[in-house]
């Protein structure tokens, strides 16, 4: 049917993440949208490095298909770093949300109006 199903699904995850960030009026749901968004981008990056009939780029003893056509290892390295940075972003965001809840008593960003005049 479709040549490769990875790219539309990655863009779909990106769209769902942006929808959650823009349309939900609850801070924790916005953070969840952030997580889905970044995972969609990671899926897209890893799918770019695929080769037809490729094998994993790890040497094992004996027979393997590595010599034929290995999959590109460079996008996987960048995604490995990006996943760990995503953890730190979500952890910091959630701890700031705890503080906001203590101060204002609500999780709705429309009702937090301290900076407005």
């Amino acid at each position: 049917m479709i040549a490769s199903l990875h790219y539309p699904i990655a863009i779909l995850m990106f769209v769902v993440g942006i929808y959650c960030l823009l349309f939900r009026r609850n801070l924790i749901k916005m953070v969840m949208g952030l997580g889905i968004l970044t995972n969609g981008v990671h899926l897209f990056l890893v799918s770019v490095g695929y080769r037809i009939g490729g094998a994993a780029p790890i040497l094992t003893g004996g027979l393997n298909q590595f010599a034929g056509a290995p999959v590109d290892p460079l996008p996987q390295v960048l995604v490995l770093t990006s996943i760990v940075i995503d953890i730190s972003i979500v952890a910091l965001a959630l701890s700031l949300i705890i503080y906001i809840y203590r101060e204002h008593g609500t999780l709705n960003p429309d009702k937090i109006r301290e900076l407005r005049g």
Binding site: A67, G68, V77, I85, S88
Partner: protein
Amino acid sequence: MKDRDKVASVLVTAFAILALFLIVNGYVGGELVSFGNYPEREATSDTFENYAVAMEYYENNQKEMVKDFDITVKGIESSDFMKNRPEEFGRQAISRYILKKELFVIEGENVLPLVLDLNARSVSDQLEGYFEEENKQLEDSEVSILEIDQKWKIDSQNTDYILERENDSIKVSSYKFAEDTGAANSITAILWDYRGYDTLGEATVIFVAVAAIAALFRSSKEVDDDE
């Protein structure tokens, strides 16, 4: 509607249209969805004397060049820029440089007996002789047959060698990352050896995040001043 809702709905519809376009394109069989699936291309058959001649040739045929920028330059002493570069460069240079690197070619009348030895999974003295000329060691090696059409792999101590047969010669290549670092996992070798600075920066990111969160939730009872 408020302005924010208008902007949001425009963005969401734009991305939805992009996703639909990609799906339809893949159904009709367009190239956009399957651009990651082309097989690993080999270098073109043009060989140039040095870098200047190659650039001149490709400047004249610039329209075809943008898509297939793979050239092979004979020798690497053309310029200082090329001195530490691999012999093939192009869009897939980094992965090919690390993953498979051609060493030398065995030609001559001795190819057939070597082929029979390799099919019987043994390393003969002749083969070791060829390797010693290029300063590579073959102690305690094992031969494994990769595919049916004459490809062999030799597991030796420091790296693995791949031998491919082409009519009357055998092409020997090796894995560069295994020779440089000694790791069997190419991704770990890239993370800690070729890109070690990036991993150091990421460790700093984790450290700063943990320090910030530990500082945010410190109770005020812990800070006490001594009299």
